[in-house]
Structure formats: structure tokens, C-alpha cells
């Protein structure tokens, strides 16, 4: 319990840092891009909206600590201003309408990469020096050296444009209305294949190598020798004695990986024009839509922190040593 509370405190500090960073950036940056943005869209905004923007970006003349307090107030009430590029939709609404797609894309890719990568790592370590162990790691490291978005471009060109096997853009075919019908789900799945595959391909190598290395260390433990001496089936020794103990470090890196997958998903979305937060972030950047950019940053950060906290809670459940100390 103490562990969980101290972790929670840590994540709150991390969240405080990112909010403060968000607060300070527009106030201390040279060139004052925000007032330019405001003057461009002055005519379209209502006075209240302009006021809220002033609070968010520090264009009011109040002392800085008052600005800071009202900024926190805005964060807690969920008022992050209106989006400039999708005027007059509030930032929170833009994010709410698109975060689902990012979760779907990133979540699917993460789960596939974790399951397949770790299984490969277990097998490679078990048959150390075998075919799997000697061929796959270098290949995966090579694939992992490609930038996410470039692999996505290649996949899109090869399987989308040239071969025409998969749809080129968006999350579902134009003209379809989102519903839980089998046709729609199949359509969404077809649109997911290429983006998910690219993210999985780039990230799977890290999982495999990490698992392989821990598993190699675990395999030299005395209890493995003991299990073998008892004459247990090899598969049982591998999974129940070896892999089970080797999953602990993988759990820790799972938390870290969430952040990376989010980043990869953002870039992949841009290539596939997938209507998630990453695509929206790019649109926000090119339209100088600062409220939306900051909103997306805060949302993603909060989501990653929350996910990490969940991982910690699971970790306490998995590793009794944490509970004792």
C-alpha cells in the first residue's frame, strides 16, 4: 500500500511538471506566437472565448501566480479553450471525438507486440543458439532501425497503392456510419492492418531481446536445474519456472513502452491519415492551433501516467517483495 501511494505521488509530480511546462511555454517563448494566432482569429471568437484564451496563454496583465492558479482551475474544469483549426469546437470535444481511434490503434499494436515479442523471446532464450535465436534478433533489430513513419510509408505504398490489398487512408470507408454491425467492424479491422503492422514490426524487436536476455539470466538459476532434475516436462519448466519469473522486468518496461507506442502511433496516424490524436496534432501544428496542441499533449501525458500507475498496481500484485519492503 505504501508503495502504491508513493507511486501515486510520483505520478502526480510528473503531471504537475507537464502542466507547469504547458503553462510556462507560451509565456516565456520569444516571438509571441499566441498573440499572432489570436489576432488572426479575433473576428471569429466571442469575447468570452478570447478571455479564456488570454487566461490559458498568459496575455492578461495579472501577476504570474494568479495566472498560474486560474490555469490550474481551467485544467480541473476541463476548459482548455476552443480549437483554432476546427473553430468553434472546444478543444476537449475535438480530443474526445478522436482519442478512441488512437487507443484502438495503439492498444492493438501494443498488445500484439507484447504477446508475440515476449513469446519469441522466451523461445529464443530456451533454445539459445538455435535458428530462432540467431536469425530473428538481427532481422528485428534491422527493422527496428527504420523510422516508424517511413516503414508506414513503405507499407502504404507497397500494400496500399501498388498491390491494393488494404485501404489507403482513414479508419473506415467513406460513406459508412459507425455502428457495431459486423460489416463496419470488418471495415475498421481492414483499415487497422497496415498501421498496426508497422508499429508492431518496429517495436517487437525490443520486446523479444529484452525477454530473451532476462530469460537467459533466469535459465541459469538453480531452481531451473532443480526443475529439470525433477524430470518435469521441458515446456513446463520453460513456462512455469523460467518465463514466469522472467516476466517481471517485462512488466516494468510495459509502462515505459506505452509512451513510445503513443509516439509511434502518432506518426503512423499521420501517414495513414488515421483520424486519431496524432493526425489531429499534425493538423494543429500546421494551423498554429496552440490550444489544441497543448490539450493533446496534456491528454496523452495524463493517459500515459494513468496507464503507468495501473502497471505499478499490477506489479505489486505480481511481486510480493514490493509489498514487504
Amino acid at each position: 500500500m505504501r508503495f502504491v501511494v508513493s507511486r501515486l505521488g510520483f505520478y502526480l509530480v510528473a503531471f504537475w511538471v507537464s502542466v507547469t511546462l504547458n503553462f510556462l511555454l507560451p509565456r516565456f517563448m520569444p516571438g509571441d506566437p499566441v498573440s499572432r494566432m489570436l489576432s488572426q482569429s479575433q473576428g471569429r471568437m466571442t469575447p468570452e472565448q478570447v478571455d479564456q484564451m488570454r487566461v490559458l496563454f498568459g496575455l492578461d496583465e495579472r501577476p504570474i501566480w494568479q495566472q498560474y492558479l486560474s490555469y490550474w482551475q481551467s485544467i480541473f474544469t476541463g476548459d482548455m479553450g476552443v480549437s483554432i483549426s476546427r473553430f468553434p469546437t472546444p478543444v476537449t470535444e475535438v480530443i474526445a471525438s478522436q482519442i478512441g481511434w488512437t487507443l484502438l490503434l495503439g492498444g492493438t499494436a501494443l498488445i500484439i507486440a507484447v504477446v508475440v515479442g515476449n513469446s519469441l523471446g522466451i523461445l529464443a532464450a530456451w533454445r539459445r543458439g538455435g535458428v530462432l535465436d540467431s536469425i530473428l534478433p538481427p532481422v528485428l533489430v534491422f527493422i527496428g532501425s527504420f523510422p516508424y513513419f517511413w516503414l508506414a510509408m513503405g507499407a502504404l505504398y507497397l500494400f496500399g497503392v501498388t498491390l491494393g490489398w488494404f485501404p489507403l487512408r482513414h479508419a473506415y470507408s467513406a460513406g459508412m456510419t459507425p455502428s457495431w454491425s459486423p460489416e463496419f467492424i470488418a471495415d475498421v479491422a481492414a483499415h487497422l492492418v497496415l498501421p498496426v503492422t508497422t508499429i508492431v514490426l518496429v517495436s517487437i524487436g525490443g520486446w523479444m531481446l529484452g525477454m530473451r536476455n532476462t530469460m537467459i539470466a533466469t535459465n541459469s538459476e538453480d531452481y531451473i536445474v532443480m526443475a529439470e532434475a525433477k524430470g518435469l516436462r521441458p515446456s513446463r519448466v520453460m513456462l512455469r519456472y523460467g518465463a514466469r519469473n522472467a516476466t517481471l522486468p517485462a512488466t516494468t518496461s510495459f509502462g515505459m513502452a506505452i509512451g513510445f507506442v503513443v509516439g509511434g502511433a502518432l506518426l503512423t496516424e499521420v501517414v495513414f491519415a488515421y483520424p486519431g490524436l496524432g493526425y489531429q496534432l499534425l493538423a494543429a501544428v500546421s494551423a498554429l492551433d496552440y490550444p489544441l496542441m497543448q490539450g493533446i499533449f496534456l491528454t496523452i501525458t495524463a493517459a500515459v501516467l494513468a496507464a503507468n500507475f495501473l502497471v505499478d498496481v499490477v506489479y505489486v500484485r505480481l511481486d510480493p517483495r514490493v509489498r514487504v519492503s
Binding site: 510520483f10 523510422p147 509512451g259 506518426l267 496534432l281 496552440y290
Partner: protein, 337 residues
């Protein structure tokens, strides 16, 4: 040399002196992996290590191309030299972009900015990570707690969105890209280097140095640092890989200086000019392949360093039973992290 851990000291000294001493035996070492690479010095063992050698050759080629770009492809690479979207031909080996620029020239010139930013970011991030990690491990206590907190917070905040908002608010330019990437990239190095420094901090020779009354800076940089040279190198290379990839990602999103020719901006323009949909694959393949090759070469060097300095990874073929008996592994156990 005041450090007292013989094997590890040797590792460092070896890089400068052993190369000269073991000169005549070098050709033999190239043919097959040496039995005790550590004894021969890091530089030599790296050349003898097939992975590291391949990596170094690829990297050297790219550095040469970057340096020689003004000779190999004279003139401004962005000038329009022919019709747009021409496939590779004798005149334009890599074809031309939709605008009519020579892709080969763009790729060669792009190496300059990409490699420069990558290496500067890598060195800067490792340096900050080293400062934080060493002082964290050396001073311990409250300093360690607060520095570790900052490090972990930076590790946790998702990198790409942070990069994007930082780059969006700062004025565009190469300096911004370098600053932003260093700011987001140092934490990983700091964490690795701290844990390594921590294990050396507990060794007797550090305690001896403290008793002798050495200054903190001296102990950190002259006693602890030399004993973790290989992990510093691994971290450095990792940071360079991060720098090159992240710069490309940032520029691909249009957040770099799009007027500078680099691999990232090449991809940005290829994507913006609709290279994918019009089927001009040659406009985006070379720059991406270049990034991947450089990253792969660096990763190979890293594996080489790891294998050479870490005996636990060397004995792959002999199976897991013999690994425990590997001689001399005790001195390097902490390196594998």
C-alpha cells in the same frame, strides 16, 4: 592511474597503448573472434568483432558522403534541375522529386544535417545524463532522490508530444531541434549511467579515494567515470540513434526548418508532394533507408561493444551450462543492464 580494478583499468589503457603493442598479431585476430578480446584492448576487439566492424564501415561511408557532399554533388541540392517525378536513370541515379530536384543530391546533402544533429544531440544528451547520473550516484541521499525524481519524470512524459509542443513554441531552426531533442533525450542516459555509477560507487577504491581526501569532481570523473567507459559509449551510441530518428520524426511533421536539406525534411517534402499516391517511391525510399542504415550501423557497433566488454554475452554457442563458469565474468557483471 588511481583506479584499482585491474581488468577494467586495462580495458581503458588498452584502447591507447595495446594497439601499438599488439600490432604484429593484429591480422590473425581479424580472421576469427579472439578468445580473450578484453586483453587486446577495446579498439582492437571492436575491429575484430564482425558486427562492430560492419557497423563502423557503414557509418564511415555515410560520414564520408556527408563530408564530401559538396564535391560529389556540387551546387545547391534544392535547385530544380530537370522534369519532375522522373524515375531513376543514368542522369539522375535516384530519380527526381515531384519538383524536379535530384534525389541523390538531396540524400547526400541531407546526411550532413542529419548526422550533425544526431551526433550533437547524442553527445549533449549523454553529457547531461553523465553529470546527473554521476552526481546522483556519488552524493546519494537527498541529491540522489531529487535527481532521480526529475529523471523519472522526464522518462515518463511521452517524448513525441513533448517534442511537438516544444518545437511548436520555439522559433524554427537547427538549434531549436538540437535543444529540444537534448531536453527530451537525456533522461534515459541518466538512468542507465546512474545505476552503473552506483555499483562502482560502492567499490573499495572509491572509498579509498574519499578517505585520501580527493575532491568530489575528481572522484566522479577520474575514479568512477573511467571504470564505466563501455557503458558510457553504449549510452552515447544509443543517444545518437535516438537523435537521428527523433530529428527525422520532428521534421517529417514539419516542425524542423523545412528549408534545410536533411533526411527528415526530404521525407516531409516527399509526403507533402504526394510521392506515395503518385507512386514516385524513389522520392522517399533513399532518405528513409539512409536513416535506417545509419541507425542499424550504430546498433551493430553497440552490440559489438557489449559483446567485447561483457563476457556473459560472448559464450552464446557453448550453451547455458558453461556460462556460469565463464572466467573473469565477475568484473563485468554490472555492465550488462
Amino acid at each position: 592511474m588511481s583506479a584499482t580494478d585491474p581488468a577494467e583499468v586495462q580495458l581503458l589503457v588498452a584502447t591507447d597503448h595495446r594497439e601499438i603493442l599488439s600490432g604484429p598479431t593484429a591480422p590473425a585476430a581479424l580472421d576469427r573472434p579472439p578468445r580473450h578480446p578484453v586483453r587486446q584492448g577495446l579498439g582492437h576487439s571492436l575491429v575484430a568483432n564482425r558486427k562492430a566492424l560492419t557497423g563502423m564501415i557503414i557509418l564511415a561511408l555515410f560520414v564520408a558522403v556527408a563530408l564530401l557532399a559538396p564535391v560529389l554533388a556540387p551546387g545547391n541540392p534544392s535547385t530544380i534541375t530537370s522534369l519532375g517525378a522522373q524515375p531513376p536513370s543514368a542522369e539522375h541515379l535516384f530519380g527526381t522529386t515531384a519538383k524536379g530536384q535530384d534525389v541523390l543530391a538531396l540524400t547526400m546533402w541531407g546526411a550532413r544535417s542529419s548526422l550533425l544533429v544526431g551526433f550533437v544531440v547524442g553527445i549533449a544528451a549523454t553529457f547531461i545524463g553523465l553529470l546527473v547520473g554521476l552526481s546522483s550516484a556519488y552524493f546519494g541521499g537527498r541529491a540522489d532522490n531529487s535527481l532521480s525524481l526529475v529523471t523519472n519524470v522526464f522518462l515518463l512524459i511521452p517524448g513525441l508530444p513533448l517534442l511537438v509542443i516544444l518545437a511548436a513554441f520555439l522559433p524554427t531552426g537547427m538549434t531549436t531541434v538540437i535543444l529540444v531533442l537534448t531536453f527530451t533525450g537525456w533522461a534515459g542516459s541518466a538512468r542507465v549511467l546512474r545505476s552503473q555509477a552506483l555499483s562502482i560507487r560502492g567499490k573499495d577504491f572509491v572509498a579509498a579515494a574519499i578517505v585520501t581526501g580527493e575532491r568530489a569532481g575528481w572522484i566522479m570523473f577520474r575514479e568512477i567515470l573511467p571504470n564505466m567507459a563501455s557503458i558510457v559509449m553504449i549510452t552515447l551510441i544509443g543517444s545518437v540513434i535516438f537523435g537521428i530518428g527523433a530529428q527525422a520524426g520532428l521534421e517529417f511533421l514539419g516542425l524542423g526548418d523545412v528549408s534545410v536539406v536533411s533526411w527528415g525534411t526530404n521525407l516531409y517534402w516527399a509526403s507533402n508532394d504526394g510521392a506515395l499516391m503518385s507512386g514516385t517511391w524513389w522520392a522517399f525510399v533513399p532518405s528513409g533507408a539512409a536513416i535506417a542504415l545509419v541507425a542499424f550501423a550504430l546498433a551493430l557497433i553497440n552490440y559489438g561493444v557489449d559483446e567485447v566488454t561483457n563476457p556473459r554475452l560472448r559464450s552464446t554457442r557453448r550453451g547455458r551450462a558453461s556460462r556460469r563458469a565463464a572466467p573473469g565474468s565477475a568484473t563485468h557483471q554490472e555492465v550488462n543492464r
